[in-house]
Amino acid sequence: MPILTPTAATGARSVPQEMTYVDPVHQVMPDERDEFLAETDLNGPFVADLLSDMLAHERCGAQLYRSLAGRTNSPILGKKYEHFGKETTEHVEILQQLVGRLGGDPMYVSPAARATTKAGTGLLESTFLLTGSVDLMTQELVMLDAVLLAEAKDHANWSCLASLADSLPEGNVRTAFVEAVEHVEPQEDEHFGWASDMRCKLISAQATSRTMQVAGETAEKVIARIKRWLG
């Protein structure tokens, strides 16, 4: 089952840093990190941190899509966000399984994952904390921008993982990586491609058509009126 918010109750563990204290019972010890992928030529501790980072990004992505699906004013975008959100949640599960197959802990939250979570939180907050100072059309673009930025890193993550898998010798580790990549990477291509294209379409439509300006203003008025009715 995909865990979107690792907590002590779901078995989250981490490593202490200068300003991050982790209770010893929830710490991933150095020798455990050293043992990860020790039978390969890979830098196990780094890969453990990287996979945790990727998981954090997918988790943030799933939350982003869930949030946007409920807040977009466009049914077309809403359906897409819902669909991609489901796939992103599956990616969380696939990554969790990959980490497990490799002998790691899917509930490990690496320092890199914390940094990524902060970035993801900021990206998500950018879609709702300033809604009072943007019009509705811009708001749709802000949400799409967040998707594009998130998918850009997501796409880069999986491309990188694919390259890493290619460089590995035949064996269980390579197979685990390849199977995950083969399932996810085409979807990431689609997510990133769609976000780029849709953003461009929205921008072009607004930039080149006076009708869109009128339509946008009309939509604003209609929605403002509905909001007034609703109090």
């Binding site: 929830h26 807040r71 902060k118 300033l130």
Partner: protein, 405 residues
Amino acid sequence: MAFNPLEQKGVPVDDQLRSWSELNVEPYDKKAVDPYTRTRVILMNGTEVESINFSHQFARHTDNLDLKRKLAMGRRIDQQQQKAVNGLNPGDQTPLETTLGYEQVAVDLTAWLARHEPDPQLKMALDFALLEDFDHLYRYANLYELLYGGRADAITDHLTEVMPGRPTFVEHRHPYDDVRPHYETHTVDPLSRLHVMTIVSGEQQTMNFYMNHGTDWIEPIARGLYAEIAMIEEQHVTHYESLLDPLDSWIANWVFHEYNEVYLYWSMLQNETDDRIKALWELHCNMEIGQLQVACDAMRQYEGREPADLLPPSLPEVPVTFEPNKAYVRDLLAATVDLRADGIQYVELDDLPKDHRYFRYQDTVNKGGAPSEMVIDQARESQGEYRDETDGEHPIADLRPQTVR
């Protein structure tokens, strides 16, 4: 029985507004009140103030009309709750008597939290500051007798001992040495998060109270003592707030605040001996459940997250309890009175390098003497030093009573 606030109905926020007459509550009788009822009032007042200030900060970081309105509504209700709670303090309870109550909170709340804290590092942070607040009670108790001839046990009722802790004048340290590492939000025990949020609220309220009431006196010794101890409370707020993980989002922090308020009102309710005040804790507990629901809905709507994924399945089984902690404090005193802070570490005084910034800071602020020492000197020369050592002599020989010089 497990109490999960997410499964409770509570009072809907729209039904929570009250009239002025409901907020203008009848104060308790300061002579008859259970000392721990007074401490509960002080703690819950501080909890509401923290909630209000957090909400204001959040509101200043968004122009989302929906969120701003929900925050404004919650804040107004918190303000009403704060008035109803703080209004229980009677007008004939002087600021210094209230101060003694604040320090009783600081001692018995901190000690209780430390005793129940599962994380050793967070327990250490609580223990460290506990001995400092314990000393403040002794200094204020002596000021009380010096100025008014009053005895602090009229407030504490011997439930909390009054004697020197880590002496206040040695508590002054460079600001860099008050900053601590924080817990990790994914791995933290839910109880630890509640403990840290609670102690931040309590210490912050104490800091604010001393900042504002330090000038209520004509006597320079009183004004000086409040200024000095207010600065330690600034240190303590810095110390405790740095334990919070900055990774949590605005909305997650909102949810955690509301959850902690439910936990605290529920806790106060379990132990209250005054039926009238107990009914207030119960009402506020149900109101906080309604406010928690609003924060949780915002989390679902804006963050796409299910609050149940983030929160524990139920409140901690043990309510936060005001009770005597005499043996705990005595043992801690004996073991750690000479601890100091060096950066993010705790060290023995003897292990601090001679050129450490601690000594330079001490020389600067204590130049000309510390009011916390002067008040004891004056007490000894006047009516004699006040102590309330109910469980035997002081565990540290050097801190036992001295004869007048």
